[in-house]
């Protein structure tokens, strides 16, 4: 899914999705609920006190296991 598709689905500017991905903006609960609904995931997966690992890091860790 592209940023533009997700932005249209939740009603924000595509740049806002980029800011969220980069960790430069923390979404409101309302926006987080909308994003969670798009992916059919619980809203808790969108919030964490620790920075999320990058996709490359996750793949690397899986390869080492």
């Amino acid at each position: 899914m592209s940023r533009k598709d997700l932005a249209e689905a939740v009603g924000v500017n595509p740049q806002t999705i980029g800011y969220l991905e980069r960790g430069d903006y923390a979404p409101s609960v309302e926006l987080a609920l909308k994003i969670a609904a798009v992916f059919g995931a619980p809203v808790e997966v969108l919030f964490s006190l620790k920075p999320f690992s990058s996709l490359a890091q996750i793949i690397r860790n899986k390869g080492e296991d």
């Binding site: 592209s2 940023r3 500017n13 595509p14 740049q15 979404p27």
Partner: protein
């Protein structure tokens, strides 16, 4: 003030670097042009200085015209309902910064005028006297008030790259 075009209703995409350069040009060229154009008449060369001043003011208005259609100016001046929560949050921060700068400049101007009144006998400090002087100050304040929030937005973090 924001100029919305039919082709680009979200404002023309502009790199922050270009926008910052245009804002710096706007804020530097306008006062410089006014000083050269309205400075003391010294006889030789003052006509040339006046023309150069006029050209600098025209260049600053050109920068203003380009910025008026930019996405930064749109974000600063758009209706609330047409911005998302991140854009509104950024705009609120920019508006607070712009207000602080404008309030600071007004305070400095008042302090300057007060000092000038106190020391007018000893130091011949400049003060606006003619309608042209007041006109230049008026338009300077208008330009600053209209563009400063967008300038703060241009100095925000770099926007993410497109898909």
């Amino acid at each position: 003030m924001y100029v919305r075009s039919r082709r680009r209703p979200m404002g023309s995409a502009m790199s922050p670097l270009l926008a910052r350069s245009l804002f710096v040009a706007l804020y530097a060229l306008y006062p410089l042009g006014c000083i050269l154009q309205l400075g003391p008449d010294t006889g030789d060369g003052s006509a040339l200085m006046s023309v150069i001043g006029l050209l600098l003011v025209a260049a600053s208005f050109l920068a203003f015209a380009v910025l008026a259609g930019s996405s930064f100016q749109r974000q600063a001046q758009e209706q609330d309902a047409k911005l998302d929560e991140r854009e509104l949050a950024q705009r609120n921060r920019a508006a607070y910064g712009a207000f602080s700068v404008l309030a600071g400049l007004v305070a400095l101007g008042l302090i300057y005028m007060s000092l000038r009144l106190d020391f007018v006998d000893r130091f011949p400090l400049w003060a606006p006297t003619t309608p042209e002087h007041w006109n230049a100050l008026f338009w300077g304040a208008i330009i600053l008030g209209l563009t400063l929030p967008a300038a703060f937005l241009a100095w925000e973090k770099e926007p993410p790259l497109e898909d």
